[in-house]
Symmetry: C2
Subunit: 248 residues, 2 copies
DNA sequence: AACAATTGAGAGCACTGCTCTTGACGTAGG
DNA sequence: CCTACGTCAAGAGCAGTGCTCTCAATTGTT
């Protein structure tokens, strides 16, 4: 058995290894296509094998089982979403924090609407019987939230992020147990933002994905909203206010 | 073929019809158990047949196919969630609008955490290849949002709901296309709430389910938050403010 | 009691994930 | 150069899935 970690790091030298890497890449590509068209639960190794022009048992030479292929596709999708978000955020000036927040939200929605099945794999109901291996998925899976946290923290340090002044969005103080969680997060990520803004930032995070999921998963009826772009942008503007941006 | 609609309405008289209704009820009950333990994608008619002590083809006498059973379970779950929400909301005084809003949110979260697989069927990634028949699912599927809308509208009419006063949560005015959507909704449901509050109400709705989905689907890591009750209640309080409640 | 509707059983088709054995091929080492 | 090893694809096979069809038996109705 070759060391998978080393394999990913070092350059592929022998023709065998090169061919093997190419085959695995093909399997992931075909799996991604199947995922996009038929959904995660309908992902079939046999179908991938057919498209690869090979008998079903042959793919087990390259991928241990269906779950491992699912993991590869999960990492693949997380990274594509992360790349899309990074590109959108980086396109805004470094100090335009509110602009970067909005760009992040729009990038998530754009990718989700473009890739509904893969978005569903990442943020929908868990695939029954499948447990994502944390060692491989946490890093790519936390790219978006880490990017969001980075924007909010930088905005706070620059004085662009202030706890909402109006009483409506300043609820009863954060209870001690929750404050302890926030303190851990702050320590681990080296943040400066106070409790209220952490709480509201988490809310903005979950709300962003809630709005996106409603659209992607068809929770709005088919005829309720025709101006969905405007609806989402409006929501994003309100969420920016919740997160602590004073002007959009 | 007996008229299904009439069958649901009229009393079951003949022993055959009674036995048939009982068998269908058993199938739904067993299907619900399988759904709760193994998830929607793993729902198997053969497994239900086994538990029913009958050969697989026999269940097709009662349920046309897997999709129809899924529809029955969908309606079943929607109604159970709706009942839970109704009970929680009705437990609060009729004029305690903010309390009813909070009760609704807590009821949704409570049911979702109790029934993660069924919640996933309702609000997670769509089951591939399955399209819910609107004629049967829209009515039960809209119970929660209609209840929420009812609370917000009643609160507004009573003067308990006011557009947030602080600038942060009053984003640029609702664009015309979106205002047209809102006007349609207002007309269909006979609402009085102005555009800004409709927009923020929709946001509160999606955000509520976003927060619940993050918990149920395990989007928070396993160790990020230990005080999840407090986190959700905090979010709910902020969302009440977003929706227009001035004091919690 | 005779008839007819309804039901359950069983076989069968096409599909799935996955395992094991067999034979062929290419590569690397002697 | 050439053998031996490692890798590979193929095929058969097992257990499961949804769904259809036929056939016999049960059961309610007339």
């Amino acid at each position: 058995m070759s060391d998978a970690a080393a394999n990913a790091e070092t350059a592929v030298r022998t023709p065998r290894e090169r061919a093997r890497a190419q085959t695995i890449a093909d399997i992931v590509r075909l799996g991604r296509d199947h995922l996009a068209t038929h959904g995660a639960a309908a992902l079939s190794l046999r179908a991938v094998a057919r498209d690869l022009g090979v008998v079903s048992s042959a793919v087990y030479r390259y991928v241990a089982n269906r779950d491992e292929l699912l993991t590869l596709l999960l990492v693949d999708a997380y990274n594509e979403l992360g790349d899309a978000v990074d590109a959108a955020v980086n396109a805004r000036p470094e100090r335009d924090f509110a602009g970067r927040f909005t760009a992040l939200g729009l990038a998530v929605r754009g990718w989700a609407l473009r890739e509904p099945a893969r978005y569903g794999l990442l943020f929908g109901s868990p695939v029954p019987g499948y447990q994502a291996p944390a060692s491989q998925t946490t890093a790519p899976g936390t790219r978006v939230i880490y990017r969001l946290v980075g924007i909010l923290d930088a905005a706070y340090r620059a004085g662009d992020l202030t706890p909402p002044a109006c009483a409506a969005v300043v609820p009863p103080p954060v209870p001690p147990a929750l404050a302890a969680d926030f303190e851990t997060i702050r320590a681990e990520l080296g943040l400066a933002v106070p409790d209220v803004l952490v709480a509201n930032g988490v809310l903005a995070w979950t709300s962003l994905f809630g709005a996106v999921s409603f659209e992607v998963f068809g929770q709005y009826g088919s005829e309720t909203f025709s101006a969905r772009d405007e609806l989402f942008e409006h929501h994003l503007a309100v969420l920016a206010g919740v997160a602590g941006f004073s002007s959009i």
